[in-house]
Symmetry: C2
Subunit: 351 residues, 2 copies
Amino acid sequence: MLKRLAAQRKVTLLDIAHGCGVSRATVSLVLQNSPLVHVATRARVKAEIVRQCYVYNRAAANLRQRTSSSVALVINDLSNPFFAEFAAGVDEALGTVGCVTLLGSTGESVARQNAVLASLIEYAPAGIILCPAEGSDGAAISRIVGAHTPLLVFNRELPDGDWDVLALDNHNGARTATEHLLALGHRRIAFFGGHRDSSSCRERREGYSAAMSAAGIPLQPQWLIETSPTRLEAARQAGALFVRDPAPTAAICYNDAVALGLQLGLAARGRRPGHDFALVGFDDIPEAAATLPSLSTIATDPRARGRQAAERILARVHDPAISPTRTIAPMQLVVRESSGPAINTNGNRHE
Amino acid sequence: MLKRLAAQRKVTLLDIAHGCGVSRATVSLVLQNSPLVHVATRARVKAEIVRQCYVYNRAAANLRQRTSSSVALVINDLSNPFFAEFAAGVDEALGTVGCVTLLGSTGESVARQNAVLASLIEYAPAGIILCPAEGSDGAAISRIVGAHTPLLVFNRELPDGDWDVLALDNHNGARTATEHLLALGHRRIAFFGGHRDSSSCRERREGYSAAMSAAGIPLQPQWLIETSPTRLEAARQAGALFVRDPAPTAAICYNDAVALGLQLGLAARGRRPGHDFALVGFDDIPEAAATLPSLSTIATDPRARGRQAAERILARVHDPAISPTRTIAPMQLVVRESSGPAINTNGNRHE
DNA sequence: CTGAAAGCGCTTACAG
DNA sequence: CTGAAAGCGCTTACAG
C-alpha cells in the first residue's frame, strides 16, 4: 500500500547546524523567522540552507507541534464542472494561507465515501469539506470523522449532526426563476429534469410549486418531468413536454446541463428556445453565457462557494470553540435570451 | 501559516497497548497485519482499537519508515475541464493503491507555480505530476523539486531535464484531422484558433501544415487565424474566415471550445456547420457529442491520461532505478456530424 | 509470539 | 542570543 521512497539520506536540520556550527534549535528558530537569532547567525544559517539544498519536512514539524496544514476535500467527481469549480475555489482559498488540499472522490458511492474518509482522516487534516454522496449516513460519517476534526457539509442535506453546513438556497432560487417566467406572462410552466429523490431537485421543485401556488395556478402532474441530470437525457425527453394540450410555454430546468439539452431537443423539434418556448436553467456554468440562445439561469457560483467553505473551515480550525452553523448561500437570477420576451396569456409573443 | 489544532490528546498506540495489556510493538504489528501476533492477542487489540476509536497517524508512520503515501498534482486550474478530467484520472488511480493526492494550482503563473512546488515538496510527496504553466523554466523546477522525488511532466513541453514526460501526439492528431477533411474533398482548409506561442498550438499547426503539403496544397496565410482558446473569442472571430475570396470550406480548430464557439459564430452568420462548412475540434469534451451538429474531434481522453500519469509515477516510486522516459499518448479521430459529407472540389456538397 | 529501546525530523521549554 | 534534552506517534531490529 505504501510507497517506499529510496531511503537516500535527506539533508536535515542537523546537517545545517553542523554545516555552520550552531545547534539544531538555532536553525529551527531561523526557519521560523524568530527574532531571537542574531542577524549574522541567521544569515549564515540561511546561506547554509541554500548551499545544502535543504528542504523543510513539514510532516515532522506538524507531528511535533500537533498541528496540521492540510484540509481534506471529498467530492463526487471532478469531471462534474460544478464540483471542479468548487474544488478550485477551495484550493485557491487554502493556498493563500499556505494550506494544502487533500483530494478524495466518492463517485457518488456511499461505500467508497466511507473508505475515502477513513483513509483521509489518517493524514490528520485540520478539517474536512465534504460534498456527501447521495444516500449518505450522517451517523456513519460522524463515527469515521470523529469529534476532533471540524467538518463542513456542502450542497446536500444530511440528517443533522455536529457539523457546519453550507447549502444553496434551492428553494428561493427556483421560486425566483418561476416568478421571472410568471412576470413575462407565462402561466403553463413546467419543471423539467432531475431525479425526484435528489434533495436538491426536491427543494427546487418546492420553490417552483410555491411560486405557482402564490400565482394561483394549480400544478398539472404532466408539468413535472423527470430525467437523469444530463444533457443527452434531457434532449431525448424534450417531447414529453408536448404530449398533452395545452402544452407548457416555458420550463424551469433542474440545472444548466438539462436546460442546454432541452434547447437542443426543442430545436430538433423545430421549436426555437427563447422564441417559441422560454426556459431558465440553474448553476450558470460558463457555457450558459456562450450558448445560442444564451441561457437565463440561477447562478450558484460554485467557485465562490468553495472559497466560502474553505474560509469557514479555517475559522473553525483556528477557534475550535466556535459552534457549527448553517449557512445558506443566496442565488442570483441571470436574465439572458432563453427566457425570451414577455408574452400574452395565450402563449404568444407581444409583437 | 500553520493551523493550530486543539491540542486535545488523541488516542495513540500506547493507549491501545495499555488498554489491553500488551506493548506498543504488538499493537503496531497488528496494525500491519503481521502474522507474528497470536490470533487471540490480535482480536483483543482490534477490539480495543474500535473501543477507543483509535485513528492511525500515517504521517508519524511515514516519518519513521521514511516513506510517503502521497503524490502531488500541480495543474493550471480545475475550472478547465481538460485538467479537471486529468486530475480525476490521477486521483482515481492513486486512490486504488491507497495513495492520496495533494493538489496545487498555478493559474498559469510561473511565479505561483514555483511557490506551489516549493510548498508541496515540504510534504515529502512520493512523486510529483506537473502540468507546467506556460513559460516555465525547467532548470528552476529541477532546483525546487530536487533529485530525489520523481517528476512527471504532462501536456506541455519543457526543455529537457531528468523527468518523465507524458505528451499528447498533437502533430499526428492534427494531421489525421486534416487528412479526414481532405478525404472529404476539402482543399481550402483553415486552422482556426489558439495562440501561436503555445506549444500545443504550434504542434497542431505543424501537423496541419504537414498534411496540407503532403496533399500539394500551398498554405494561405489568411487560413491561420489566432484567437484566445475560448468559445466566446472564437464565436467573435468567425468572420475572419470569410474576409477574402475564395473562403475556406472547412477548418481544423485548436480545441473543442474554439470549435463550439465557431459553430455558434457560423450559425450567427447564417452558415450551417456540417452543411455549409466542415469543422473538426480537438479534445472530445463531453459536450462535443451532445452539441448540434455533434462535433467531429480528436479525442485526447484526459482522464485516461491522468491514470496513465499516476501509474507511471508510481512505477518510478517503487523502483527508483527506472530511468525517465518520454511517452506519447496517441489521439483518436472521432467522426461526427460537424465535418459533414463529402463535397466536390468547388466546395459544394455532392447531392 | 512479546517487550524494551532507539530513532524518523522536527520544536520547545529550560538553562546558561 | 545559543545549546542540551525531551518528546510528537509511530516502526524496527534485537533480545528473550
